[in-house]
Amino acid sequence: MRDFYGVTLDSPLMLGTAQYPSPAVMEAAFRASGASVATVSLRRETGGGQAFWQIIKGLGLHVLPNTAGCYSAREAVTTARMAREVFETNWIKLEVIGHADTLQPDPFGLLEAAETLAAEGFQVFPYTTEDQVLAQRLVDAGCRVLMPWGAPIGSGLGLNNRYGLRMLRAAFPDIPMVVDAGLGLPSHAADAMEMGFDAVLLNTAVAQADDPVAMATAFGLAARAGRMAHGAGPMAPRDMAVPSTPVIGKAWL
């Protein structure tokens, strides 16, 4: 199991805390999923924040604050500093958004913010694309985890660019990688894990399911199954059939 800034996770599932029908369903979904990490955010205090924090603390998981909704490096850096104080962790899921429709990362702002935060001792989990050049720049900036997207946030499309993700995985064998965003089905999570990614991060697919607790369970199982399958060394696919039953000894009828 890979090391995320010195932390070994029991489960390769990281789960978001937003959009559940109720706090009770969220809590049940987390427990059912076996997730090891909960993502959270910071927003203007309107009264619910303190109670929410008590629930999250009660889950006893690793907390990964995000900079969701930030469109500039400056905003993201300030949000990260505020999050570090409130959540008492150096972990930060760094999001610098470049476009409102696709919610795709702004690679330039992302790199700028990552450099600043890494220099301040943050342990940055950058929400990035499958772009290898950007990935290298992020590693050079001090990122020791990469979080390439599967597909646009909330789209549920799965692994939009399997080739790009496979190439990225192969290019950085020593960097822990989390496929973050766009997963819609447990099979997408299993697929990412079978490809050798170290974890998956999702939210909407569970929170917006008709039965979030059942879907959380399914994602937890799929992520673990995918990880186990990758570790087991999958067979190489081939175009022609090969009989699995022995040919030798077949009766001459």
């Binding site: 978001g16 805390t17 937003a18 959009q19 559940y20 969220m26 993502t39 959270v40 955010s41 910071l42 927003r43 203007r44 205090e45 619910g48 924040g49 303190q50 929410f52 924090w53 999250i56 604050p65 995000n66 969701a68 400056r74 300030t78 500093r81 505020m82 999050a83 104080e85 409130v86 959540f87 946030i153 999702l202 939210n203 909407t204």
Partner: protein, 65 residues
């Protein structure tokens, strides 16, 4: 003086950020603060003066993906 708190105009008597938080009911709350767009650590709030027209953000843990 009149300041802006989380986007809303508020009249306060306090003259430091720490006192303003207490006056606004966030004395013991788990919140992070920013003044005019820059982070102010909790340990620096008591020494942070406020001026008329200042913009403060008071952020709390919230659901996120």
């Amino acid at each position: 003086m009149r300041i802006e708190v989380n986007g809303e105009a508020r009249d306060i008597a306090a003259t430091t950020l720490a006192d303003a938080l207490a006056e606004l009911g966030w004395g013991g709350a788990k919140v992070a603060t920013a003044l005019n767009g820059a982070f102010v650590p909790a340990t620096a709030r008591a020494a942070q003066p406020l001026r008329d027209g200042d913009r403060i953000e008071v952020l709390a843990p919230m659901q996120g993906g």
